[in-house]
């Protein structure tokens, strides 16, 4: 390996190391999941996540959609996946989960609303 290539590899490693946990476990998508992806829906309805607990395979996309008149904010406990912004009525938040584990999340403005995503 010549010197410039080694430098590139080092740079990539540094960038990966600098990424927050949120980016390494999962990634958020502005446009929603791509065609053919494994997609799982979570409705936010009557101040609750439906289903409250969801099991998905690694690589699945989870889409939260706010069906309430009230805004909600999907927030990962411990910031393990990217949180949504304020979801107004009808707004969605999509996250692709890659790393197995159980991810607890809540609504940051109604923290009594709690759910989990378990990735196999």
């Amino acid at each position: 390996m010549n010197a410039p290539n080694a430098f590139k590899v080092l740079c990539v490693l540094l960038v990966v190391a600098a990424l927050p946990n949120a980016m390494r476990n999962a990634s958020a998508l502005e446009a929603g999941p791509p065609k053919g992806a494994k997609v799982y829906q979570v409705a936010i309805h009557n101040f609750a996540f439906e289903p409250k607990n969801l099991a998905v395979p690694s690589g699945a996309y989870v889409v939260w959609t706010n069906r309430d008149e009230e805004p909600h904010v999907v927030t990962s406990a411990g910031a393990l996946f990217p949180s949504s912004g304020a979801l107004d009525t009808g707004d969605s938040h999509t996250v692709m989960f890659s790393k197995p584990g159980t991810y607890t999340y809540y609504c940051s403005i109604h923290p009594m609303m709690v759910g989990t995503i378990t990735v196999h």
């Binding site: 009557n46 101040f47 609750a48 309430d68 008149e69 009230e70 805004p71 904010v73 927030t75 406990a77 912004g85 304020a86 107004d88 009525t89 607890t104 999340y105 809540y106 940051s108 403005i109 109604h110 923290p111 009594m112 709690v114």
Partner: protein
């Protein structure tokens, strides 16, 4: 105890009777016990007030659904009601949820309406709707008192000590409102030098007592707060968040939650969740919205609390 004006009154004659009586109830606090009187009877009783202030709450600028398509208009009406008070309030207190979604343009609108409405000095505390996405940075930049890094503050007016607390940040999954160890340590120190005779007014957005925890209507560490307040002879706790009047007396501490200037929410546990009460019709909405007037009477350690509906 709940003000009868918060209960859905379908009877138009009852509604008109309420309007004729002054569209509000005067709350006189005497030795920790509240006495209710029609607003029209209250003028003599509060004629010797040394000062008064007004609480407004939950303006939710940016909300645009049933039952209120014009939250700016109803805030304007609330500010007009304040201007029409016989005794000019010393200041206005806004107990949070200025905006619906913490958007810069919503903060702009709120600030513009308060200026246009000649609200004068306004003391703000944030609601959870004001701190979305930035932990309140924009809120504190625009509306903060800049006394403490955490945003909480205190001040004195007319012999009464006021404390503005923040209980909408660092909320835990499954939890309620949260004050945190830093803020509680500051408060303990802030109150330490005060005599027990000093009237205290403590305000924050979320209820500092357990109104209905399963809807998030409470504060996780309020029990610790109470240990600092109990030695005082007169403590008034003012909150917003639940868009309706609820009250409780605990020793010398009286807890109140305020109406919203935007829309009502259901009574605790009534219906599937604490969303807007959408069944309220446009012509009845003003009965559920309002402002709160608090008067301090010189030589007395008690405060008189008046509720005004928008009419």
């Amino acid at each position: 105890m709940q003000n009868t004006h918060d209960e859905p009154a379908q009877d138009r004659r009852h509604f008109l009777a309420c309007m004729a009586a002054g569209a509000g109830t005067l709350w006189l606090m005497k030795g920790g016990v509240l006495q209710a009187r029609p607003l029209s009877d209250g003028k003599a009783a509060t004629g010797d007030a040394s000062f008064s202030f007004v609480q407004i709450s939950d303006s939710h600028i940016g909300f645009h659904k049933a039952p209120n398509m014009d939250v700016s208009g109803t805030l304007r009406q609330s500010l007009a009601a304040i201007r029409s008070q016989a005794i000019r309030p010393a200041f206005v207190m806004h107990t949070g949820d200025l905006t619906h979604l913490s958007k810069p343009e919503q903060f702009d609108t709120l600030a513009g309406l308060m200026q246009e409405g000649q609200a004068g000095k306004v003391f703000y505390v944030p609601g959870e709707h004001d701190v979305i996405g930035d932990n309140g940075a924009e809120f504190f930049r625009r509306f903060g008192e800049r006394q403490q890094a955490g945003g909480w503050y205190s001040f004195d007016h007319g012999g009464v000590h006021f404390v503005g607390l923040i209980n909408v940040l660092n909320l835990k999954a499954g939890g309620l409102g949260y004050l945190g160890a830093d803020q509680l340590a500051w408060l303990k120190n802030d109150l330490a030098g005060l005599s027990a005779e000093t009237p205290l007014v403590v305000f924050a957005h979320m209820p500092l007592w357990s109104v209905y925890p399963s809807w998030g209507w409470g504060t996780d560490d309020s029990a610790q707060l109470m240990t600092y307040l109990r030695r005082f002879g007169s403590v008034t706790v003012l909150n917003g968040h639940i868009h309706q009047i609820q009250q409780k007396v605990e020793g010398t501490v009286t807890f109140y939650t305020a109406r919203s200037t935007a829309y009502p929410q259901p009574a605790p546990g009534v219906g599937p969740g604490p969303g807007p009460l959408q069944t309220v019709t446009a012509d009845a909405l003003h009965r559920y919205l309002g402002v709160r007037d608090v008067r301090h009477v010189r030589g007395s350690s008690v405060l008189a609390v008046t509720e005004d509906v928008l009419a």
